[in-house]
Symmetry: C2
Subunit: 343 residues, 2 copies
DNA sequence: ATAATTAATTTAACCGTTTAACTTAAGCAA
DNA sequence: TTGCTTAAGTTAAACGGTTAAATTAATTAT
């Protein structure tokens, strides 16, 4: 079983392999009668065409590659999917689109040894989706790859030759700060990863500043914190705020995972949320619903990001061309219990 | 680029394709001199052998398939990876092992239409790892598949013809209950999914009962709750307990995700953890560290489960045989802040 | 010196498809 | 009847590797 080939079918049906191939591919060259004979043989022998052979012949692998960054900083070295809690949602989104189109997805770590290039070539990957943020040298590296490529969150100028799917991070930052301002807060801390090195953080920060300006609140640089975008990073910052008797009445953390770390350190120090301090996050990871109180946050629809990415790839593949589109998704404010009016 | 074949290399080096193939496969037949010539050409032309072609010729696809259940009950229909928070860890474990052995992993939903069988045949998957629990008819279905298969958490008698990787759930249940008993608790609730339909829950329940018996505590059936293994399932049970003024001083939830739901409903109702009630979970999902207080739990090493699964497959593949081993992993008690001595 | 052995390399068949090009037979017009 | 189209198949060459068998060259034994 599993070993029956197109020749077996042809022999069984008493026709040539070409005829079998033609009915398999819906090429209208075969009489209804012969066609039925062939379909019968296929059924009887439980024949399944080999995608491998098809790929060799057609040049298409029907494989979409997904590259994830391998971070050594993660809790578990080499842990691919858990480093960033929404990689798995992103992948689900991709899978949702590709599933019924005959494509499979292949996942690889994206390490500095550039093994991924071998991988793409040797597996003859049809399209590539790259998650996460990488140093700029990467763009030169991948520009020699001759398949449709989608980058997520690549704001850089020189990334414009690829497909891009992004979030309106500036607006998200604005919405978060605006929400806190509307609740009466004036001393609003901003917490994120490196603002210099990441356009994501930079844009969210811009949005934050715009909201402050609009409300005539002077930016207080002492309330801007940068740390690793991890639970522990947030926890450390929370501790620092508590110890330094930080005057902020509200905190905008540009990542839920950091917001949750901050919340934990606040709560452990007897600081009540939202009575003493409001916290808003960003992303709306699943766990944002599970905290006590629930985490108010700016949602980005990661599943949609995955779907859009896959659709851009599939569209290029279908039309047999390489285009480059940018899709900008819009954020959404999700209000839960962690924010409240200032006393 | 990406289009250079073994024939190009052969021509460039002035040898036959066979010679190139032999040095590629490390077959010791070629003079050092010729070998260097060939290696030079490979480098110069940036040649990468096509795995597809290799697969066709050798019959191996170097692909490991992973089947995940597609649950319609999940928050997001068709959301593959988020339904169960440790699928992604499991996959990371598998990927960790296969990464440097030249294997890639392919992920598919495991739906009742049995599309996965076509998938295995047409992709010529070399080995299969099945996650999650399925109705017993599945076992007949998959027994006709002629590749090494690993089942996770399949305790059923008729699953013994496959590789299995399991956790000592009974011991885990015992450890959880024992921990609470050691803290002085006597009224200990047990919360899980269906005990009848799942060996996992059944075994954890057995362990719980063994610990009670050992401590001469009479089993109180009123303290046994069954619900969906989701955050909301736990939340509903928590509400029910609060409303019915449940006499339990401690709760053992046989899944962290439920424990977290229970915690949330307790905390929202002014019930303090661990002062008023202790809670222990099971699994040690990542978020168990992030709750306030941190969730005491029985850890199962999911990454290890993934690694072991992959190793069983790879071992069979290497030795070109189909064996069937069972690996029983041991749980570990992780004490955090959600459990404390009874007042 | 010749035959036998061994080492290095090449030839060609094969893996399972697709598809361009070819064949055959039937249908139709003049 | 002859020639031209068209429909329905078939043949055979690709696709890019692997590998058994054949070939050639070099070495050793007799």
């Amino acid at each position: 079983m599993g070993k029956v080939t197109i020749r077996d079918v042809a022999k069984h049906a008493g026709v040539s392999v070409a005829s079998v191939s033609y009915v398999l591919n819906g090429i209208d060259k075969i009489t209804e009668e012969t066609k039925q004979k062939i379909l019968n043989s296929i059924r009887e022998l439980d024949y399944k065409p080999s995608i491998t052979a098809r790929c060799l012949s057609s040049g298409e692998s029907k494989l979409i590659g997904i590259c994830l960054p391998i971070t050594e900083k993660g809790d578990i070295p080499g842990d691919l999917l858990e480093n960033n809690p929404f990689f798995s949602e992103f992948i689900s989104g991709i899978e949702f689109v590709t599933r019924n189109k005959g494509y499979d997805i292949l996942i690889s770590g994206f390490d500095r040894n550039m093994r991924y290039k071998d991988w793409i070539q040797s597996r003859r990957i049809d399209g590539l989706i790259i998650l996460g943020v990488y140093p700029k040298t990467i763009f030169e590296e991948i520009s020699s790859i001759n398949i449709p490529i989608v980058l997520s969150d690549a704001y850089e100028e020189y990334a414009s030759e690829f497909h891009r799917v992004m979030l309106n991070d500036e607006l998200g930052g604005y919405m978060a700060a605006r929400h806190l301002i509307d609740l009466g807060h004036k001393d609003i801390a901003f917490v994120s990863g490196s603002i210099k090195n990441s356009y994501i953080n930079k844009n969210r920060y811009q949005g934050y500043k715009r909201a402050l300006k609009e409300a005539n609140i002077k930016l207080n640089k002492n309330l801007v914190y940068e740390e690793h975008v991890t639970f522990n990073g947030g926890y450390r910052i929370g501790m620092e705020m508590v110890k330094s008797r930080c005057e902020a009445t509200a905190v905008f953390a540009a990542a839920d995972i950091m917001a949750i770390g901050i919340m934990k350190s606040f709560l452990e120090n007897g600081c009540r949320i939202p009575e003493d301090v409001s916290i808003i996050g960003f992303d709306d990871i699943k766990f944002a619903q599970y905290t006590v109180p629930g985490l108010t946050t700016v949602k980005q629809d990661i599943i949609m990001k995955g779907r859009v990415s896959a659709e851009m790839i599939l569209s290029d593949l279908k039309n047999n061309q390489r285009t480059n589109h940018s899709v900008l998704l819009q954020p959404e404010l999700i209000v839960r219990g962690s924010t409240a009016s200032i006393k």
